[in-house]
């Protein structure tokens, strides 16, 4: 774990519209020094616009952005101590790998010796020393990504932005690069901000995640807190899979029409009596009839090696209940099962504001 310090970036009330479309709706957040921060959300949620605001390619209509006390919005994009790794990598096709990496240092007007040494060092870090004189077009996707990363970190920016860094890679290379990015972030000690629509990617890499939807920040938390204590239905739905029950708030939990009272707890104050109960599939247990909260019929079983997923149809509830258990399961399709969970594992959320 990196040592996390004081806030580095302060984003306050940033809004940006394109015509009628509100891309950013009064977004505020703090990104801490040395943090691996993720902006997570579906496409069109505003995460890329926020990234472009940070990089200086888009100007917000209102709000302020500071970096270590410095007013970022007053600086043109080429003067910001921020580097961006583009989703397409945007490597210069007419320059060799080392020329690409050296480009940013040359723009700083550094002496030739220093440029050469720093380029050589960063190429060693990303393991591309033997490709220094190759053109980007001759590299594989993973290698290109390393060049893009090297080109950004060689400038030793205060903040490194990564736009969907792994989306162009195939699955196996992706998980390797995930580890690699974390290792690098630790090694170079730069604050990373990753933009991604892939919740697994964000969960596995980031120290903290800002979940965005429709131009607004839904929740900023650690991956574990986002998963266990989602603030909104959007977050509960977007992060991981979950079973949801809509009903009326009662003391013990919620009262669901045709199903009965289901136990749960509300970590946040609720505005209305209408509420939704969220239970993760792995928090539901198959139990004795006496302890059952729900009873239903197994309609499908899926085996994933490490775990199995059981779909249970419960009378009065439209969608099947999903239950995950470790390894294989003894239940069979068509069997009658009883389900239960402990109230502290079930979160009750209010209606969306």
């Amino acid at each position: 774990m990196n040592a996390v310090h004081a806030p580095l970036v302060r984003i306050e009330g940033v809004s940006r519209s394109f015509g009628d479309v509100v891309a950013l709706d009064s977004v505020s957040m703090e990104i801490r020094e040395n943090e691996f921060f993720a902006l997570l959300g579906p496409s069109g949620c505003g995460k890329t616009t926020l990234l472009r605001v940070l990089a200086g390619f888009s100007e917000p209509d209102s709000g302020s952005v500071t970096l270590g006390g410095l007013d970022l919005l007053a600086l043109p994009p080429n003067k910001r101590p921020i580097n961006l790794m583009f989703q397409s990598y945007a490597l210069f096709p007419h320059m060799s790998v080392e020329k690409n990496v050296a480009y940013g240092l040359e723009r700083e007007g550094l002496p030739k010796d220093e440029v050469r040494d720093r380029v050589a060092a960063v190429l060693t870090t990303v393991g591309l020393t033997d490709k220094a004189r190759t053109r980007p077009t001759q590299l594989s996707g993973g290698q290109r990504q390393r060049v893009a990363l090297a080109r950004a970190i060689v400038k030793r920016p205060k903040l490194l932005l990564l736009d969907e860094p792994l989306s162009a890679l195939d699955r196996k290379v992706r998980s390797e690069m995930q580890l690699e990015l974390k290792r690098l972030q630790h090694e170079v000690g730069i604050t990373f901000v990753v933009v991604t629509h892939d919740q697994e990617e964000a969960m596995s890499m980031a120290d903290r995640i800002a979940v965005m939807s429709a131009g607004r920040v839904q929740q900023i938390d650690t991956p574990v807190d986002l998963y266990q204590r989602p603030r909104t239905m959007f977050v509960a739905d977007f992060i991981g899979s979950s079973n949801t029950f809509a009903g009326n708030r009662v003391d013990a939990g919620i009262d669901v029409d045709g199903v009965g009272i289901l136990p749960g707890h509300a970590p946040w104050p609720l505005a209305t009596s209408l509420a939704t109960l969220v239970v993760r599939p792995e928090d539901i247990e198959i139990c004795e009839p006496a302890a059952a909260l729900l009873a239903g019929v197994v309609i499908d079983i899926q085996f994933y090696g490490g775990s199995s997923t059981i779909a249970v149809h419960v009378d009065g509830h439209a969608t099947p209940i999903i239950v995950t258990c470790q390894g294989t399961t003894a239940v069979e399709r068509g069997a009658q099962v009883h389900l239960a969970w402990s109230p502290e594992k079930a979160v009750i959320l209010g209606e969306e504001a």
Binding site: A55, G56, F57, P77, N78, K79, I82, N83, L84, F86, S88, A90, L91, F92, P93, H94, Y103, G104, R107, E108, R135, P136, T137, Q138, R151, K155
Partner: protein
């Protein structure tokens, strides 16, 4: 082991033969056209260049290098030099004027681009001769330009805009500018603009980013445009005759005169060959630049 492997390779062989067959079918018409109307005439010109001039045109034996030595006469070298100067000036001006136009079109919203491109090629809809005559009207001493100049009071008498080298360049530039804009536009339109943002993000100013990224990546297109303008400018004989008033002799006029008036086909062939040589050199240069920009694997 033998039989399955055997069948596969035989099957693959037949497949390859079919592919070759269909390739020949597709290439055939173009190949025939090029052979009949390009390769054979060029072969004829090459052979004429080494023959002796016939009394009433045509060629006869023996083989001689006389036409080549004649081409080195200062009179003809000067014509060639004059033509190169005019064609080069035209090309450079076309690049300077055409680049901003192509750039602006490439950065327009896509619905405007088509309109802009149609406007660029609009002059081609009317006859080249008519358009060149129009320049005579525009540039002559009674023309609107001179009238406007006199009206301003800056000059007391009309200036000679027509029948000089400048008029020839103006005419050629007007005729071939679209041929510069179109390939330039094609290369700029393909440009990945995030490369410019990347350069900016790495600390380059906008001007710097243009000269480090946009310009080199558009060079192959600029070279094609330069060839498209340079080659027909060098060989053009209508514009020098109409706007140059016959005073500005270019190599195109000279070649035409050798074949049609002087009836010296071998010498005309030698002059034509010098132009072909320039063309080949230019294409080699273009290929080299293109390979340098696009890297060893892909080159346009």
């Amino acid at each position: 082991m033998t039989s399955p492997a055997g069948t596969t390779s035989r099957g693959r062989g037949a497949h390859k033969r079919r592919a070759l067959g269909s390739r020949a079918l597709f290439l055939g018409p173009g190949l025939f056209y090029v052979t009949a109307f390009m390769a054979i005439p060029i072969a004829l010109i090459v052979s004429y260049a080494f023959l002796t001039r016939g009394r009433f045109g045509g060629v006869r034996l023996p083989l001689t290098l006389e036409s080549f030595t004649r081409a080195l006469d200062p009179v003809y070298l000067q014509v060639l030099g004059n033509s190169l100067l005019i064609a080069t000036t035209t090309t450079v001006l076309a690049l300077l004027i055409g680049y901003p136009v192509a750039y602006a079109i490439a950065r327009m919203p896509s619905r405007w681009r088509t309109i802009a491109l149609v406007l660029v090629v609009l002059p081609f809809w009317s006859n080249f001769l008519i358009r060149t005559y129009a320049w005579i009207v525009l540039l002559n001493s009674e023309g609107p330009l001179n009238k406007a100049l006199l009206a301003t009071g800056l000059r007391d008498e009309p200036i000679g805009l027509l029948y000089n080298r400048g008029a020839v360049i103006v005419g050629l530039l007007y005729a071939y500018l679209p041929l510069m804009i179109l390939p330039l536009y094609a290369s700029l339109e393909r440009m990945d603009w995030s490369l410019l943002e990347a350069a900016t993000n790495l600390g380059a100013s906008r001007i710097r980013a243009f000269f480090d990224v946009t310009f080199p990546l558009s060079l192959p297109g600029a070279m094609i445009g330069a060839i498209f303008v340079f080659v027909p400018s060098l060989g053009n004989f209508i514009v020098p005759e109409l706007l140059g008033g016959g005073k500005t002799v270019m190599v195109g006029n000279l070649i035409r005169d050798q074949f049609l008036k002087a009836r010296d086909w071998p010498f005309g062939a030698v002059l034509a060959l010098t132009m072909v040589t320039f063309l080949i050199l230019l294409f080699a240069l273009q290929a080299a630049v293109s390979r340098r920009i696009n890297g060893p694997r892909a080159h346009a």
